[in-house]
C-alpha cells in the first residue's frame, strides 16, 4: 500500500483510544474499507487510532435476554459463534455472505456498521433484528435503533470522536424463523440487493414480520410496508409475493455498471420473497 504518510497509534485501552479520537484522530479497525481508499489516496487521514485490537471491544455474550457483540468482533467470529448460530442465526448467516474469508478474518462488525456502505450486508439483518447500536465517545455512551443510526449513504448518527462500540441483537430461538438472501455483485461480492426476513407464524397466520433490505438504494432500510402487508395475514405464497412486491416502493433504486434501477427493484422483490419463504421454513 503506497498511502500518504500518517500517524498511527495503537492504544492499550478504550479510554486512551477515545481520548485520541476526541482530538480528531480517525478510527481504524479491520481496515477492509478504509485501507483500499487510503491505497488509492482517496482517503488521507492524518492520524489513525487502531481500535481493532482492543480486548474491551472483543466479546460475544448473552445478557438480559439479548446478545451483546463487541464492535471489534470479526465477521468470521460472528459467522462461527456457537452462541449466535444457536440464538441469533440471522446475524451469523449474514456475516458468512460478506466478502471472502480473508475479509471476514480481518473486517469487524463495528467497522462495517460505522462505514454504512449502502451495499453492505449487516444493515439488512440488523434492521430485521430490531438491533441496537451502542455508540461511545469520551463523553459517554448512547444506544440507538438501527433506523436512528443509519441515516444515509456512508452516513450515520456517529458524532466526531464517537465510535460504534457494541451491537445488541435479540435472542431469537424458538418459533422465529430467519433468513438472509443475497444477490452478489460478481466483481466485489457486495450485495446488489440483500434481504433479511424474520418471521413468526401461529395458526396459519403471520404474527410477526421484520424485513431489512440492503443494496437497493442509498441506505439500507426496514421495509415496514412489507411487514404491515403480512402481519395478521394467512401464510400463503400469494400473500408473500404480493407483500414482497411492495419492497421497493418509495425507494430511490440505485443504478450502476452492475444493475439498472429497474433490475435492482425487481431483485429486491424477488429476494425479499425468497428470504420470507426461507424464514418461514425455519419457523417451527
Amino acid at each position: 500500500m503506497i498511502a500518504n504518510s500518517f500517524e498511527y497509534s495503537a492504544p492499550g485501552s478504550l479510554k486512551e483510544a477515545l481520548a485520541l479520537l476526541a482530538e480528531g484522530a480517525k478510527p481504524l479497525a479491520g481496515g477492509m474499507s478504509l485501507i483500499p481508499m487510503m491505497k488509492l489516496r482517496l482517503a488521507n487521514p492524518e492520524h489513525l487510532v487502531d481500535i481493532g485490537r482492543l480486548p474491551e471491544l472483543n466479546y460475544i455474550r448473552e445478557e438480559g435476554g439479548a446478545i451483546h457483540i463487541g464492535a471489534g468482533v470479526t465477521h468470521f467470529e460472528v459467522e462461527s459463534s456457537p452462541l449466535l448460530l444457536g440464538k441469533c442465526p440471522l446475524l451469523a448467516e449474514t456475516a458468512a455472505y460478506i466478502g471472502d474469508i480473508q475479509v471476514r478474518n480481518r473486517g469487524t462488525l463495528g467497522g462495517s456498521v460505522a462505514h454504512a456502505d449502502p451495499s453492505a450486508d449487516y444493515p439488512a439483518a440488523l434492521h430485521a433484528l430490531d438491533a441496537k447500536i451502542v455508540l461511545t465517545s469520551s463523553e459517554g455512551t448512547r444506544t440507538l435503533s438501527t433506523e436512528e443510526f443509519f441515516l444515509d449513504t456512508f452516513t450515520t448518527a456517529l458524532d466526531p470522536g464517537e465510535i460504534v462500540s457494541e451491537v445488541i441483537v435479540p435472542v431469537d430461538a424458538g418459533l422465529t424463523g430467519t433468513s438472509y438472501q443475497k444477490f452478489l455483485q460478481p466483481a466485489s461480492g457486495f450485495a446488489i440487493v440483500g434481504a433479511a426476513a424474520r418471521v413468526r407464524q401461529e395458526g396459519g397466520k403471520f404474527t410477526m414480520v421484520r424485513v431489512g433490505v440492503t443494496g437497493l438504494s442509498g441506505n439500507g432500510y426496514r421495509a415496514r410496508n412489507v411487514e404491515d402487508a403480512l402481519v395478521g395475514q394467512d401464510v400463503t405464497d400469494a400473500n408473500i409475493k404480493a407483500a414482497a412486491a411492495l419492497v421497493a416502493d418509495g425507494q430511490d433504486a440505485s443504478s450502476d455498471l452492475h444493475a439498472t434501477a429497474e433490475y435492482r427493484a425487481h431483485l429486491a422483490g424477488a429476494y425479499t420473497a425468497r428470504a420470507l419463504r426461507a424464514a418461514l421454513s425455519r419457523s417451527a
Binding site: 503506497i2 498511502a3 500518504n4 504518510s5 444477490f183 455483485q185 466483481a187 455498471l257 433490475y263 431483485l267
Partner: protein, 782 residues
Amino acid sequence: MTTTVTKLEKLVGKRIKRKEDPRLITGTATYVEDVKLPELLHAAILRSPHGAANIKSIDISKAAALPGVVAVYTGADILGVGSVVCAADLPGLRKPVHHILAQDRTYFVGHAVAVVVAKDRYVAADGVDLIEVDWQPTQAVTDPEKALAAGAPAVHPEWPDNTAFIHNQEGGDMAQAFADAEVVVKQRIVSQRLIPNPMETRGVVADWKQADKAMTIWTSTQIPHLARSILAGQLGLDENRVRLIAPEVGGGFGSKLNVYPEEALMGFVSMKLQKPVKWIESRRENFQTTIHGRGHVDYLEIAAKRDGTILGLKLKLIQDLGAYHQLLTPAIPTLSVLMMPGLYKFRNISAQVIGVFTNAVPTDAYRGAGRPEATHGIERMVDMLAAEIGMDPAEIRYKNFAGKDDFPFLTAAGLTYDSGDYAATLDKALEMIDYKGLREQQVQARAEGKLMGIGISTYGELCGFGPSPATPAGGWESATVKVEPSGKVTVMTGCSPHGQGQETSFAQIAADELGVPLDDVIVLHGDTSIVQYGIGTFGSRNTAVGGAALFYALQDIREKAKRFGAKMLGVEDGEVVLADGHCTDSNGNSVTFQQIAGAAYRGIVIPTGSEPGLVATRFWEPSNFAYPYGAHIIVSEVDKETGQIEIKRYLAVDDIGNIINPLLVDGQLHGGVAQGLGQALWEHGVYDDDGQLVSGTFMDYAMPRARMMPWIESAHTITPSPVNPLGAKGVGEAGTIGSTPAMVNSVVDALAPLGVRHIDMPMTAGKIWKLMQDSSIQEKKA
C-alpha cells in the same frame, strides 16, 4: 564396465507434479519486486486522468523539491529514447509515434506523463501528487463504431477518420456462394474488451553500469530476448551489453508479450542517474495501462443451403485498437480472419477488418488472441443457422466438418490444418454427455416451464507459432542441452514459461530421452546471459516448438553419447544402443550415461572425429502451425425470476495431440475455461464516453472466482500433430477459445422458447432478465 540395466519408467505422459511449485508455495521465488540492489531508487509515474487532453504546461518544481526525490523527468527529457515498438505491419498501416512519456497531448487514461524517482516508493508517489499539470481536456471517443462515424473526435488529429488500417481477405467466390444460398443469416456479434489481469502486475528494474556500458534489466515479460533486442534499440545500446532477465513471472496471458514504455523509461532513468531503479506497476495501473484483449464488433453473414450445407461466411470486423499500437496490436484481428472457417469445409470467405483508434489503452494479444473472437463468430453463426433451418446443432456440425481423410486440409482462409478427426471428437463428447438423453430431458424441462439449454462448440485453433514467415520475429525456438561431467542435465530453453510448467514437462522429455532421473534435469529460461537467443512464450508454442527444439538437441546428445559409449566399450559406432540410461553393446556390456558424461569431459577417450564435452544446441522451426480442436458442451439453466445462469454440466473433449503431462494439461484447460467463462458471463472492460475506465478495479471488473466455476469434465481424443516430432499441438489457449460459444449457445438454447436468437457477452444476469422481460412483452403483444 558391466552393470545391471534397470528399465526406467517413462515419464512423458505421466501426471508429474510441478518442479516449479515448491518455491512458489513457500514464497521463495524471485519476482521483479523481489530484486533488491544497493542504492536502488524507486520510480512512480504520473498518468493522464483524462481520456484525451492537451498538456498546456507541466510544473515539476514542487515535486523536485520534495526531500527524498532524486529526479523528475517529463516528455521533454526522453526524446533521445526510441518510441514504443510495433512489430506488426499491414499495407498502409498508420503508426502513431508512441513516446515513452507523453509530449503535448495524452490519448488515454493512464497515459504516462512524467516519472518521479525517489529514495522509496512512498516519496516517489508523494512526488507524483505534487506535479502540477495544466490540462485542457478535449472530447474523447472510446466506442469504435462511434469513432468511425462522421464528425467523431479525432484520436490522432492527423487522421480524422480514426482508421488505422483496412485489411481485406477473400477466399473462394463469395458472390457465387450468396447467389447459390437458400438461406442467409446475419448477426452483429460483440467480443467485448477484456482486461488480462495476471496475478503479478508488470515491474521493471534497470541497472546501468557506465564503466562496462552494460545494462541489466529485470522485467516481467514473456519474451526476454525479443524485449532485449527492442530495448537495446530504444536505448541505443549494444545488444550484447544488455542482459535481460525475466525472473519468476506471475502470469501474462499475452499481456506480457509486449514491450511497454516503462521498460525503456527505467533504462533511461538508470543511465541518467547512474543508479539502479525499480518501478512496480500498481493494480490500478495494470488495469489502465497494460494491454486489453478482444474489443471486436463483428458483422457476420452466413450463406447456406436449406439442408445445412454452409456455402460461405462474410465478416466485417471492427477492431478497437485503442490509442496506439503495442507490439502486435494490428496483427491480432488478422488472426481472426484466418480462423473464420472454424472446422468446416466451406470454400468461401470474405473479410474486411477495420482497425479503429479510440481513446483507450491499446488492445493486443490476450489468451487466444483473435482466435476466440473468430471461433465465437463461426460457432454462433452455425448455431443460428441451425435454428433458422430447424436442424440440430450437432447434426449441422457433422454435415460441415472437414473429414478425417481431408488432411492436410486447406481451408477457405488459406491455412493448412495439420491433422484431426472432428467427427470422432464430437462423437465422444455427445456420448459422454448423453446428448440424446439430454435433449429428451430438455423437452421435459421445457414442459415444466424450465429454461434449460444445451450449447455445443466445436472449436479449432491455430497455435505452435509458427513458421517464421507467419510471425513478426521468427517462428522458431531454441534449446541447449548441457550434460555436466556428473551426468546431471541442464536444459536451456528459449521459451519463457511463466506458469505453463515447462520446467517439469521439458525435464520429463529430457529424462526419457537420456534415461536419467527427473530430478537430474533442471530447466533454465528467461535470462539472456544464460540462455541462447529464443523467441519466448505465447500462442501455445512452448511444447510444440520449444519442446521440439529440445527433442532434437537431445537427439544430438544421444548420438554423441553413443559414440563415446562405443569407444568406451571398444566396439564400433553403431554397434551400441542407448536406452534407460545405459549404452549397451551386442554382448550386453554397458556403460552408464553418467560414466559417458564423465569420460566426455575427462578427455582421454575421445571417439575419432569427435571432441570433448557433451553439449548440444538446436534451433528448430516448424513447417506449419499445429491445429488443436475440440468439442465443449455446456448444460445450463436460467433462473426465470432473476436471469441468473447456472452451469449444470461442463464437458470438454479436447484434441491437443500427444500429451506430455496430463496434470499440466488439466491446469491449462481449467484456467482457459475460467477465462473463457469470465468473458461469456462476467468480465467487461468498460470505458465511458469521456474515456474513463469505469471497470478499473477488482470491485467493478468481475474476474471469475473459484466459487463461480463449474466442475469441468475433461477427456481427450488424440491425433498427433505431424508437424513436430513430439506430436504435440498446444493447450494453453484451447479452453479460452472453446468455452465462450458453448456458453452463449447454451443460454441462447435455454431462451429459444422465448424467441431469443443471440446474446452478446458478458451475459450478466441483468442482461438476461431484461431480455426475458422484452421477450415476454413481445409475446404478450403478439
